[in-house]
Each structure stands twice: as structure tokens, then as C-alpha cells.
Symmetry: C3
Subunit: 134 residues, 3 copies
Amino acid sequence: MQTTFTIPTRGQGLYEFTDQVAAWATGTGLLTLFIRHTSASLLVQENADPEVQTDLLHYLARLVPPATDPAMSYLTHTYEGPDDMPAHIKAALLPVSLSIPVAAGRMALGRWQGIYLFEHRDRPHSREVAAYLG
Amino acid sequence: MQTTFTIPTRGQGLYEFTDQVAAWATGTGLLTLFIRHTSASLLVQENADPEVQTDLLHYLARLVPPATDPAMSYLTHTYEGPDDMPAHIKAALLPVSLSIPVAAGRMALGRWQGIYLFEHRDRPHSREVAAYLG
Amino acid sequence: MQTTFTIPTRGQGLYEFTDQVAAWATGTGLLTLFIRHTSASLLVQENADPEVQTDLLHYLARLVPPATDPAMSYLTHTYEGPDDMPAHIKAALLPVSLSIPVAAGRMALGRWQGIYLFEHRDRPHSREVAAYLG
């Protein structure tokens, strides 16, 4: 079966939607999520300490600085804003699809793992994640 | 069903093969692509503005410089050329497999998403991508 | 069918378990592996020259230095040790799931490809990888 999850975002950061997926992924099979965008990502990360998410966000902001940073002066695709091309780069480095086995309605997530949409743009967006369970 | 796509490459860069995959991925199910190499990657990226691909290529060339760059002097696996070990590193950072839901012969790709083979070596290669639709 | 592979680790590095997976993945279908942790990764990489693995490990240690490195002074999630938050970051950059087509009991791995668990923590761990073949 297939569905689409719609995740509203309010700027760069991680948005957990584990519960939405868990409620839909009943039965036994393989769950696949696919994000339909090139400036946001999917991520499985720790959902215990929110500092992990903050640190991850800061690390990526340093690894891929905004186009206004002198280190990024070689960028040419800049007319959609200083956060746009860095968002495409982050989307290349982080997952676009995730696959998780499901047994008797339970995803094989580890104790501390949550499913996140990782927004790389500054402005609010409505993000679509295609889901497949088979 | 399964097949193998063969993608010829002519040096580092992104080679789109969305149309080949779309022509093969009929029906409804889950499409999976798997690249059978450790010095090239798969990637879903924007297919509208070619500058996005150029910038991505330049970013990765800076993130993982050739073995001849002083910053990479610690590399030991260098006998296959200065582009070889950086290619393995890029292949570790970018996707080796991709999964995309398909409904009624239509992949769940977003409006601006294309499927690319990302070649990390300088010389021409013939790259194989195993495909599964089930 | 589903199973769980348990991989013991003894510090940061790559641990190959291709043979274990190959012995289990009989028949024809799609194999998916999912790691149930946020401080270790899955990886498909060259299994010919062990220097590739050493270089990859060194590259990642420079890309994501320990929390004690001045470059990482902005990290806040540090109470689990200097290797903990860098491990989460590496786990975000490297695969959490892998999908590989299987035909007649043979995975579509290329000639030089092996399947690895990539441990990012210093201390020994027992890592679980959920597997699905369908």
C-alpha cells in the first residue's frame, strides 16, 4: 500500500514524524520512505536528547555554509537565495530514501531512533514524503 | 522484475538516466536501484538548472580533494591515481542504493527530481546499475 | 523473511559481514538491511585493498573530529564522551539502510563490493542489523 505524508516546516531543522509513520505501517513487510524534494532530506537519528539535533544542525551549517560565506564564492546557482544551493548540497549528502523492516506492525527502529524530515531551507515549506509498504 | 542499466561515463560529473528508468518501471510497486561500483554513486537531484550540478561537483571536489592535494597527504591507497581514493570516499558519502515508490507506471519523483549516476573517476567508465521492481 | 544480524565491534572501523548476509539471502528478491543504532552505519565499499578502509576511517576522523578538538567547541551533547556526538554526525552522513537486488541466491554486488558495519564509537559494542528479503 502507498500513501503520502505531508510535513509542514518552519525553517531549517529536524521535524520528527515517527508517530505518523508508525500509525500507518501496520502488518508485516518492508516500509520505504522517499522525499519528493531536492532541498530537504530524510533522517533516522536519536530522539532522546534534543541537543543531538541542535549539534547536527550546527555541524551541517559549518560543513555547507550559506552562499554569502566567502568559502562558497564559487557557487553559481545563487538566484534563489543564499540557503538554496547549500540546501541542494545537504540533500545530496543526506538520505533521500529510507527502508525499514516492519514485523507485526512494529518498525525495526532501535530504542533511540526516530524518523525525521530534515529541512534545509529557511522559509516555511510543505514537504511531501511518499511511503510504500509491501 | 530485474534488469541492469549500463551508463557510459566520460569523467567526473552527473549523468541523468531518469528516462531509461521511467521507461522500464511500469506497473505499481517499489523501484530499487543499486550501483555495482565503489567509485561512483547514485543521486536524486534537481534537473532544472544545470548550474546545480556544476556547483555540487565543485563542492565535492573541495570536500574531498585529489590525493595530490597537501590536505590529503595521509592517504595510503594512491597507486590507482590521485582521483581513486577520493572517489571511494565520495562513494561512501553519497547513495549506493535508492528506493522510489511507483504507482500506475509513475515514479513518485517530485517535479524537479531527476535520477543521476554520479561518476567520481576521471577516465571513461561503463557503470552498471542493478534495478529491482517488486 | 526477516532476521537480525548481530555484529560485535571493538572500536572505530569497518567490520565486513558480507558472508553472513550472502548465506542468508537465498532465492530471488530484494534484500534490505537496516542498522538499529544512531552511532554506527552500514556501508558498501571495496573489499580488495584494506588501505581503502584505513584511508576512509582517517578521512572521516578529519571531517568530523572528536568533541575535544577546538574546531568542535560548539558541540553541546558531550556528556557521553568526545566520540559520541561525532558518531551521531557520521551516522547522519553514512547509510542507515541499504537495498540490494538478489537473483537466484546471488546479491547484485559488484566484483569489489563488500557489506560493512561502520562503527563510530571507541568502546566495544554489539550492533544489530535488521534484514528483510522479499
